[in-house]
């Protein structure tokens, strides 16, 4: 798997240090980085989907080296994203981040960019960084992506609440789409 992922990369045409402000990226996640959008939702097939746990976002700002991600069009699969991650055995889920959608959401005071940072043998590696600030910009991003779903975390009951919850989840999924159990619970990666 590891060698096949290395061989199948499609390196982007960027030079190291080049930045882009759109594109889809894989972010590898540990087990506790993911939460259900509604705590009371089904454990295995949550009707209203998954989101990143708030604490995970808040700590992105602590990563002085930036938010480590892999370019989807280069690495191609969630499985390879985890396979080429150092210490990859701790990672089980993958978030697909649409940087262009985040930048276009109109809720942030400035945009984020992805800087090409190849880490051989991973030639698809980028880091996402705020363009015009540091700590406060990460706080903004965390807030935008952690907006409580209506009706404020209580499992929707009425048809109106259900419709609003689905709409909110669709909006969220246009920024971040969480794929759970890319690495199986038994530790295997296929």
């Amino acid at each position: 798997m590891y060698q096949r992922c290395i061989d199948h990369q499609t390196a982007p045409g960027n030079q190291p240090g080049d930045t882009i402000n759109e594109g889809e990226f894989f972010r590898n996640l540990k087990k506790d980085h993911v939460a259900k959008c509604y705590g009371g939702d089904d454990e295995h097939q949550p009707e209203y989907g998954l989101k990143l746990r708030k604490r995970h976002w808040q700590y992105w700002g602590q990563q002085r080296s930036g938010l480590s991600v892999n370019l989807r069009s280069c690495i191609h699969s969630e499985v390879c994203s985890i396979a080429l991650q150092s210490g990859g055995e701790d990672y089980f889920h993958v978030a697909i981040i649409d940087l262009g959608a985040i930048n276009a959401c109109g809720l942030l005071s400035s945009s984020f960019v992805a800087q090409y940072d190849p880490a051989p043998p991973n030639m698809c590696h980028f880091v996402i960084l705020p363009l015009d600030g540091t700590v406060s910009k990460w706080m903004e991003l965390a807030e935008v992506l952690d907006t409580p779903f209506p009706p404020a975390n209580k499992l929707p009951a009425t048809s109106d609440e259900k419709a609003r919850a689905r709409l909110a989840f669709d909006q969220y999924r246009s920024y971040i789409d969480v794929r759970r159990w890319v690495r199986k619970t038994d530790g295997s990666l296929h």
Binding site: Q58, S109, E143
Partner: protein, 278 residues
């Protein structure tokens, strides 16, 4: 000396006054001694003719003006009171904003147009200047803190006491909160509660933030008001708080607003406004 029809105080260019006071004073006295009108540049500077004498000191100016009604003293403080906006807005209080905008512009220009190593050097030089400005602001704020009343403090709420151990005791592989950040957070919450008076006060969730900061996430239904408190080397009521707020809106999501606050007065003011729904 020319006599003015009526005394008409106008906005004075304070920057020119303070920077060139000696120069213009000499020019003016020289003009008077020769029986001439004040040099036109001086007149323009004061925006008034018939000025007989003027003085400046720290934050004020004074000028003697000959009018039909006799000699009048024109004086004003230039930066002491916010209400004197005419002087403030025409003087250095506008220029500082302009200067900082220019610094932002220079950083962006360097990033966009220079070679990376060259841009880094340019940005580093600008950053050094900004750091010196920041140190000046800290020093003067520190001195001013001794001249104003400290914010009132209420009792530390129970919810804070209950959650405080989670700040002090780090989870495995994680940092505990910095003790100075915890102390700042305690004082801020007490000051916020004191300022809110009898208004219903929200509780908050406390967490260790990045690099030992303290995250205070206030509970507001549908809205968000967050403080991230950093340890600093200045005494209370100086603080360093990253503030995030986002107001609720059922129709359209509101943009997130962040500020970096340096004293408890500003933080508490924001808090009370948010609690009162302003």
């Amino acid at each position: 000396m020319k006599t003015l029809p009526k005394y008409r105080p106008r906005t004075v260019d304070e920057q020119l006054l303070t920077e060139n006071v000696e120069k213009y004073r000499s020019l003016m006295i020289e003009a008077f001694l020769k029986g001439k009108s004040p040099p036109s540049r001086v007149s323009r500077m004061l925006n008034i003719e018939g000025v007989g004498e003027f003085w400046t000191g720290s934050g004020y100016f004074k000028a003697a003006v000959q009018t039909e009604e006799g000699r009048k003293i024109l004086e004003g403080e230039v930066a002491r009171e916010r209400s004197r906006t005419e002087d403030i807005q025409s003087g250095p209080m506008v220029r500082w904003q302009h200067a900082l905008d220019k610094a932002d512009e220079a950083i962006r220009f360097a990033y966009d147009n220079l070679l990376p190593a060259e841009a880094l050097k340019t940005i580093s030089t600008i950053w050094e200047h900004l750091d010196r400005t920041s140190e000046l602001a800290a020093a003067r704020s520190r001195l001013l803190m001794g001249k104003v009343d400290k914010p009132g403090l209420a009792e530390l709420p129970k919810w804070f006491e209950e959650q405080e151990p989670t700040l002090r005791n780090a989870k495995e592989g994680e940092l505990a909160a910095n003790p100075f950040a915890i102390e700042s957070a305690r004082l801020l919450v007490r000051a916020a509660y004191a300022a809110a008076g009898k208004t219903d006060k929200p509780e908050a969730e406390l967490e260790v933030g990045p690099l030992g900061r303290v995250m205070i996430d206030w509970y507001f239904v549908g809205s968000r008001f967050q403080w991230m408190v950093e340890a600093i080397d200045l005494p209370w009521p100086s603080v360093k708080v990253y503030q995030l707020l986002r107001r609720s809106d059922v129709h359209a999501p509101k943009p997130v607003q962040t500020r970096i606050l340096h004293n408890a007065y500003d933080a508490v003011e924001s808090f009370t406004e948010f609690v009162q729904g302003k």
